[in-house]
């Protein structure tokens, strides 16, 4: 293996690693998506390294396909970020942790206080569970008692 290929693979591995670390540790929605883009760039670097090593153009072609998918992902992700920002006026990802697949009683107290603050939002049924067959413990937001 030539030093060129080896060093290029090493750079790709480092980019993927830093993308993973950024994805796991960042709390800003936009920077999480940028970390995913960084991981995709690392994978494209690997394709380039192997394609250049064997003298075939398939590596470049797959890198172009990765580029296309990354553009699609960026467009849809940013549209979703804009839509989410209109709802809560923040980019904090932890406020949307009630969209995950776990049971509602495991949700953090910040999310609960947030949902009680905005009482007009509906409480969603957790994804992945059949609502007709499974009894879902639904935590409704605190509704103030009607004054007599």
């Amino acid at each position: 293996m030539t030093p060129l290929t080896q060093q290029t693979l090493m750079v790709g591995a480092l980019l993927f690693t830093f993308g993973l670390v950024g994805f796991l540790s960042r709390r800003n929605l936009i920077l999480i998506f940028l970390s995913v883009e960084l991981m995709l760039a690392g994978v494209a670097t690997n394709f380039i390294a192997f394609g250049s090593h064997y003298g075939i153009a398939s590596g470049q072609l797959f890198a172009i396909l990765i580029l296309t998918v990354a553009s699609c992902e960026a467009a849809i992700a940013l549209a979703m970020v804009v839509a989410l920002y209109r709802r809560k006026s923040t980019l904090d990802v932890e406020l949307w942790s009630d969209l995950r697949e776990t049971a509602p009683e495991k949700s953090k107290p910040t999310a609960k206080s947030e949902s009680s603050k905005h009482a007009e939002y509906p409480v969603l049924t957790p994804a992945g569970i059949d609502p007709l067959t499974t009894k879902v413990p639904v935590t409704l937001p605190d509704v103030p008692a009607p004054k007599a």
């Binding site: 293996m1 030539t2 030093p3 290929t5 060093q7 290029t8 090493m10 750079v11 591995a13 480092l14 980019l15 993927f16 690693t17 830093f18 993308g19 670390v21 950024g22 796991l24 540790s25 960042r26 709390r27 800003n28 936009i30 920077l31 998506f33 940028l34 883009e37 960084l38 760039a41 494209a44 670097t45 380039i48 390294a49 394609g51 250049s52 090593h53 064997y54 003298g55 153009a57 470049q60 072609l61 890198a63 172009i64 396909l65 580029l67 296309t68 998918v69 990354a70 553009s71 699609c72 467009a75 849809i76 940013l78 804009v82 839509a83 923040t90 980019l91 904090d92 990802v93 932890e94």
Partner: protein
């Protein structure tokens, strides 16, 4: 203890260059230092100095352990600039700076693409990533960013887990790269862009078509998702208001 271990490794004929260990040490120390003050994004001065020393040591070991030449020096320059920029990307607290350091990463990676005989891909990556994608990200950041740093930019979620996951992934990748046995390299016989175009419109025609359709679907989906539903809500409020006033008038 350590010399014995290295001797055993060389006896087993595992190809681990010194700079592998150096870069692994860089990964360990750098990630530790970036996430040193757990839960906070801001590192202490001691960790900053330590990270700088670790980076410099790994850089020196990398430079002296590879054969020297114009291609090698360019490769080392671009690679280390990419590494430094990605450390900056992970550790910057201001999101705009992080996005700009991502641009720096993309430009360095494009330099590596040119060295790896892919000039067309370098140009298109520069245009698509550094030109278009980052600008859109910056637009959204400016749309959503407040003037001062928010709490979610100053704190980290899962600091220990992300550190351990990054270290485990990188040591695995490093081991597999050092164990890799590729056959002899072959140069490109045709012109580079010509070979790519031939491949794109003969063997991989379906993939290219599917990618185009995917782009179209993504554009439509992005328009639909980002639509403002606020006017509907306003209209509803208007309707309820008028009905209420009508009802009040009828009652009186």
């Amino acid at each position: 203890m350590i010399p014995i271990t290295i001797a055993q490794i060389t006896e087993r004929d595992i190809t681990i260059a010194p700079w592998h260990i150096a870069v692994l040490a860089l990964g360990v120390i750098g990630l530790l230092l970036i996430r040193a003050s757990f839960g906070q994004t801001k590192p202490t001065p001691m960790t900053t100095v330590g990270g700088f020393v670790a980076l410099t040591a790994a850089f020196v070991i990398n430079v002296i352990s590879i054969p020297w030449g114009i291609e090698q020096s360019l490769l080392v320059t671009f690679g280390w600039l990419a590494v430094v920029a990605s450390i900056a990307f992970v550790s910057f607290r201001t999101p705009v700076y992080a996005a700009l350091s991502f641009t720096a990463i993309v430009l360095d990676v494009c330099g590596i693409y040119i060295l790896n005989t892919s000039p067309f891909l370098a140009a298109s990556t520069m245009i698509v990533y550094a030109g278009a994608t980052i600008i859109i990200f910056l637009f959204v950041l400016m749309f959503a960013q407040r003037s001062h740093l928010q709490a979610y930019d100053l704190t980290i979620s899962l600091p220990r887990f992300s550190l351990l996951a990054g270290l485990a992934l990188f040591s695995g990748l490093l081991y597999s790269i050092s164990e890799l046995n590729l056959s002899e390299p072959k140069p490109l016989t045709e012109q580079k862009v010509e070979a790519l175009g031939k491949l794109m419109f003969t063997d991989y025609l379906w993939s290219v078509e599917i990618a185009g359709v995917l782009l179209l679907i993504a554009a439509i989906a992005a328009i639909l998702i980002a639509q403002d539903h606020e006017p509907d809500r306003l209209l509803e409020a208007e309707v309820t208001k008028t009905t209420h006033t009508q009802w009040d008038g009828a009652k009186s």
